[in-house]
């Protein structure tokens, strides 16, 4: 299992020109962020604050207007082919190809990296089974429930055992029980694969349960708070949730977040 490269975001800026109005939309403004290998990071932020745009830049679908995202010593947009099979995304909707069976959907990324046909099948089958879909490998997406389809989408992301896993509100549209279950599975598998995982979410519960680190985006992906969850005792989770809520609502850092973070730092120094 190779160690994924670190992610280094420097002075990232993304401006869209709206075709209808001709106006500029600053989706991301001067974002600095470093993500360590194997870190599990949750991004929270109000709607329209540029979270998905950040992912589009990570995926390499869009080029930054200014600044850069560096993954190891490569850039996801400029070195598009380099990252084939190394970054995988689970989207909000399952985005399965309706004409492919669950198995064929799951093996799509393997086809793109040109893996041997038998090996493709074997790997895709393994992952489908791990996600509890052993019985449904031949089913078309329309024959599966929403939760099952999302499982296929997760299998599709994991087949390549990517360095970096992205999940954009991947569990938001499912009922709470299913969502929690799938999130657990997703995180366990990500840790097992040793991937760096970044999850965008609307739900604070989800963000907190994700684990390592929570970053809170303000408008234009302004970094409002950067929280290392380990520094918070479980008993203070209610406070943490409240403080994040405050930060989101007021678009500025809640002082309570500062204090705890600082206390932890002081403790470490001693």
């Amino acid at each position: 299992m190779s160690v994924p490269p670190p992610i280094d975001v420097r002075g990232l800026r993304k401006v869209f020109w709206q075709t209808t109005t001709g106006q500029a939309v600053i989706a991301i403004d001067q974002l600095d962020l470093t993500i360590a290998p194997r870190e599990v990071l949750a991004i929270v932020g109000q709607t329209g604050c540029g979270k998905s745009t950040f992912f589009d830049l990570m995926i390499g679908l869009e080029a930054p207007t200014e600044g850069s995202i560096r993954i190891g010593d490569k850039y996801p947009h400029a070195d598009f082919d380099h990252f084939r099979g190394k970054i995988a995304t689970v989207f909000q909707q399952d985005r399965l190809l309706p004409w492919r069976s669950a198995l064929d959907n799951a093996k799509l990324p393997l086809e793109l990296i040109g893996m041997d046909e038998d090996e493709q099948r074997k790997r895709a089958l393994t992952w489908l089974k791990r996600l509890g879909l052993g019985q449904f490998t031949n089913a078309y997406p329309h024959e599966l429930s929403g939760g099952m389809r999302q499982r296929v989408a997760i299998a599709r992301a994991f087949v390549v055992q990517p360095d970096i896993l992205l999940a954009d509100e991947a569990f938001g549209h499912l009922d709470e029980v299913t969502a929690a279950e799938l999130r657990e599975t997703f995180l366990a598998l990500a840790r097992e694969c040793g991937s760096t995982a970044i999850l965008i979410t609307h739900q604070l519960e989800e963000a907190i349960s994700v684990g390592d680190r929570i970053v809170v985006f303000g408008k234009s992906a302004k970094l409002l708070a950067d929280i290392h969850v380990a520094q918070w005792p479980k008993s203070k989770y209610a406070l943490l949730r409240e403080a994040i809520q405050f930060t989101l609502q007021n678009n500025r850092l809640d002082p309570r977040l500062k204090r705890i973070g600082a206390k932890a730092k002081r403790k470490k120094k001693r």
């Binding site: 970054i87 995304t89 004409w99 492919r100 990324p109 793109l112 329309h142 024959e143």
Partner: protein, 257 residues
């Protein structure tokens, strides 16, 4: 496997009772009319009896059917390949699309008869003339339909595909082509009926084989029975081709609910 599809029998040509009844009524009406023709002052050759038509059908030369069919299928395949290739090029390049689109619109507005006359004036070879007319009529339809379909492949699916970083070719083969298959079938169905109708007109001019040629011979002989017989052949041909396409479509589009 519980999800191995239960294959339903494909009914290629179904004849519900109503269809049968209405056809029967039409035949009876025709037969009665043909017997009444002298009384009504209609020349007898104008409405031949069913027996006379049956005799004409018996004299039909299969070679002409084969020739016409070959022309139609050959031209349709050429039109499809050309139309799809152009649509793919135009999908990739907006600039190309901006230049080509007006021309294609212009082509589609030109009446078939004009194309036939142009073909006769420009090209010496009969086969080439017929092929040219068919391709120039059917090609743009394939192109416009497939381009439209490519444009309407959901952004979500395109993004998903892109996120796995395919090469340009993989993107087309794994996403675009399968996504537009339903449209391709619709386009084929439209173009088959278009081609069958156009080929006969094209064959009227200068061809010495084919159904169109036989129709013109029948017309010169004032043989309504022959015209009728060939028309029946044409209609049957059209239905047969459509049935084949429907069958392939049913097989390939099983993934649809």
């Amino acid at each position: 496997m519980p999800h191995d599809e239960i294959r339903e029998p494909v009914r290629v040509l179904t004849f519900p009772r109503q269809t049968f009844v209405s056809l029967l009524v039409f035949c009876v009406f025709w037969e009665v009319l043909s017997h009444l023709a002298p009384v009504l002052g209609i020349p007898p050759f104008a409405i031949p009896s069913l027996v006379r038509i049956a005799k004409s059908i018996a004299t039909i030369t299969p070679i002409d059917i084969v020739v016409t069919l070959a022309r139609v299928i050959g031209a349709l395949i050429a039109s499809f390949v050309l139309g799809l290739a152009m649509a793919m090029a135009m999908y990739r390049s907006d600039r190309l699309e901006k230049y080509l689109h007006p021309i294609v619109r212009l082509f589609m507005a030109v009446p078939v008869v004009s194309w036939i006359l142009f073909a006769v004036l420009w090209f010496p070879g009969v086969e080439f003339r017929i092929g040219f007319v068919l391709v120039v009529v059917c090609g743009p339809v394939f192109m416009v339909d497939t381009l439209d379909a490519m444009r309407s492949v959901p952004r979500e699916l395109r993004h998903m595909m892109q996120s796995f970083r395919p090469t340009g070719l993989q993107f087309f083969i794994k996403l675009m082509l399968p996504a537009i298959v339903p449209t391709i079938f619709t386009s084929w169905k439209v173009n088959i009926s278009l081609a069958i109708r156009v080929v006969t007109i094209a064959e009227l001019v200068g061809a010495v084989t084919g159904i169109g040629h036989q129709l013109s011979v029948a017309q010169e002989l004032f043989s309504v029975a022959d015209v009728f017989a060939w028309t029946i052949v044409l209609v049957a041909l059209l239905f047969m081709l459509e049935a084949i396409v429907a069958r392939v479509e049913h097989r390939l589009l099983r993934w649809r609910a």
